[in-house]
């Protein structure tokens, strides 16, 4: 099988997964106990119907709920294809534009966190592999294993109380100062970075272990290869051996992991944004649940699912492109 046809196969697998998610998204509200037209009275177990039969029939026809399931399903898919994922009742705006306003915040902290954790993790992992089984390696290894066991939101809360509340180094919440007047754009950017610092730091620490372990393992595998002995025998400088000969070959799994970890970082961002009251999609999702804006909840879920799936597909394709051994 050649490369492009295997990519095509992979893509069709992802398309299937995506279709399953869409179908789930379609059926979840329909499987939910209760009915939009039945009002549950406050005393438990009693159901009161506040609409007459005729009214219910009329509303069902109005919302298209009287049609057979398959017709509803196809019109749902057709709507999605046109980019119409519904209207948020609470925000009084289309779901797409509500998400659009928040997405930039989430995407920036997610990308920043991945970049930082990947960079620092790879450097530390390479150093650890170079000095493997020495004191430096052992201490660093245990330390990083220990922090990567702690859940993200707990690290976030600790930073919030110690660095923001107690020491006052960082703002307590939000993505930007409210009602601030900036004299120039540098001031504004500094303020945004100041607000983003703790969320990014938290997310980076949580992902650090993954990149550290991966680069350490991959580096150890490369360092024991014969061509490394040759490089050393040639009398090359350590720095040159690590970065030019070893890291280049050890980098492949790290590159793919960057894309694969995006889904996990997105999930982590939902929690971390809520810790720091950061105005991204994760916080929006919680707000939507709190105000029972079901259309918006579903829209955000779809958005996150599509993003994560696309990133996984990209990881697959890039891996195939970069590694000549994989067919």
């Amino acid at each position: 099988m050649n490369k492009s046809s295997s990519i095509l196969k992979k893509a069709s697998e992802y398309l299937l997964t995506f279709l399953v998610i869409l179908t789930l998204n379609f059926f979840i509200p329909r499987l939910m106990p209760g009915d939009p037209f039945i009002f549950l009275s406050s005393s438990e177990g009693q159901v009161t119907i506040t609409y007459s039969e005729e009214q219910i029939a009329k509303y069902k026809a109005y919302y298209g709920l009287d049609k057979p399931m398959i017709v509803q399903y196809t019109s749902y898919l057709a709507n999605l294809l046109q980019g119409n994922i519904g209207y948020s009742i609470y925000y009084n705006n289309s779901v797409l534009s509500v998400i659009g306003k928040r997405v930039i915040w989430t995407v920036s902290i997610v990308l920043a966190a991945i970049f930082i954790s990947c960079l620092i993790g790879t450097v530390l992992g390479s150093l650890s592999a170079w000095y493997r089984n020495g004191t430096f390696d052992k201490v660093l290894y245990s330390f990083i294993i220990a922090i990567s066991e702690i859940p993200a939101f707990l690290i976030g809360i600790m930073f919030l109380f110690i660095l923001a509340a107690k020491l006052g180094w960082f703002p307590l919440s939000g993505g930007i100062k409210t009602f601030a007047n900036y004299s120039n754009s540098v001031e504004k950017i500094t303020d945004i970075l100041h607000h983003a610092f703790l969320p990014v730091l938290t997310l980076s620490i949580v992902r650090l272990g993954e990149f550290y372990l991966l680069s350490r393992n991959s580096m150890i595998a490369v360092l024991t290869k014969d061509y490394m002995r040759t490089a050393r025998a040639k009398g090359l400088h350590n720095k040159r051996i690590i970065f030019r000969h070893a890291l280049k070959n050890a980098l492949l799994p790290i590159v793919t992991r960057v894309f694969l970890s995006l889904g996990a970082v997105f999930s982590g961002a939902i929690l971390v944004e809520n810790v720091f009251n950061y105005p991204g999609v994760g916080r929006l999702m919680r707000e939507a649940v709190m105000v029972r804006d079901y259309v918006l909840i579903q829209g955000i879920f779809l958005f996150v699912a599509v993003t994560v799936l696309t990133m996984n597909l990209l990881a697959d394709i890039i891996y195939r492109r970069l590694d000549p051994r994989v067919n």
């Binding site: 997964t17 106990p33 809360i157 600790m158 109380f161 929690l271 919680r286 079901y294 879920f301």
Partner: protein, 281 residues
């Protein structure tokens, strides 16, 4: 008695950290089982002044409603243990059964099961849990079911590949040629081989489930009736002025310490178990 001896030998092979971890988990289990006697105060109604500092009456102080925090920690242990072990057992047993079946039958069934696991692994779990919780109501039972639906793939994959390799062994081929059926093979040959592997993955799933429940509760999307550790944190963080007073020293620190202790303890045990059992084999 045979099992007790096995367990004793197993404990002896744990490292110091693993033993500490086991001790902490047993302690939390003790808290959960005997919380009615240990708590001294009710966990859902006020028993003192609001926001009392830790002292003789209230060991860990009280929250804004005057509810004893030590009592909330004790009863919260129940939720964490229930969700953690409930999910792990459900996903461990269910996942193993699917894995054995998939590995044993091979062919189209195997392919379908593997495609299904691929699909579940790609799905982003936290958003999905939030959606399901929002629609079906966030009870502890629902949380366990949803977590199990996202966790079964891990034991399934491990068990399947082990069953595939065991099926190649000479003694299994011999048993098959004598006409051994699915049940005989599973009970006599597959189970003894996969049990240690399943145990390791069940321990990992436990801590994952505990963290997931705490996260959902922290977001305010967990079971609102159960006083879980995450819910205590949720109340504390949403209290106005928590950042500017000293109340966090007992109100926030206690649940965080509880969650971190339990999760790291389980991590220590699981690392030791992986070393002893050697999951790569």
């Amino acid at each position: 008695m045979k099992y007790v001896k096995h367990i004793m030998i197993g404990i002896k092979r744990l490292t110091v950290l693993g033993k500490i971890g086991l001790g902490v988990v047993l302690m939390v289990l003790f808290l959960a089982v005997f919380s009615d006697w240990l708590a001294l105060h009710p966990y859902s109604i006020p028993s003192g002044d609001a926001l009392e500092a830790p002292g003789a009456g209230h060991w860990l102080g009280t929250d804004d409603l005057g509810i004893d925090i030590w009592a909330q920690i004790c009863f919260g242990a129940r939720i964490s243990i229930l969700v953690g072990f409930g999910t792990a057992l459900l996903a461990g047993i269910g996942g193993s059964i699917i894995g054995i079946f998939s590995g044993y039958s091979g062919g189209l069934t195997d392919k379908l099961v593997m495609r299904l696991t691929d699909l579940v692994i790609v799905l982003p779990d936290l958003p999905m849990m939030i959606v399901l919780g929002a629609f079906f109501g966030p009870s502890v039972r629902n949380i366990i079911i949803v977590l199990a639906l996202f966790s079964w793939t891990i034991p399934t994959r491990i068990v399947r590949s082990k069953v595939l390799s065991v099926k190649q062994e000479k003694y299994v081929e011999a048993a098959m040629s004598y006409g051994a059926g699915f049940w005989h093979l599973t009970l006599r040959h597959f189970l003894p081989n996969i049990l240690p592997l399943v145990m390791v993955s069940v321990i990992r799933l436990t801590s994952r489930a505990i963290v997931a429940e705490a996260s959902l509760a922290f977001l305010g999307l967990g079971d609102p009736i159960s006083k879980s550790w995450g819910l205590i944190l949720n109340h504390a963080i949403n209290f106005k002025g928590i950042y500017f007073t000293d109340y966090w020293k007992w109100w926030v620190v206690s649940p965080i310490t509880a969650i971190m202790l339990l999760v790291t303890a389980i991590a220590f045990i699981s690392r030791d178990m992986e070393r002893i059992i050697n999951t790569k084999a």
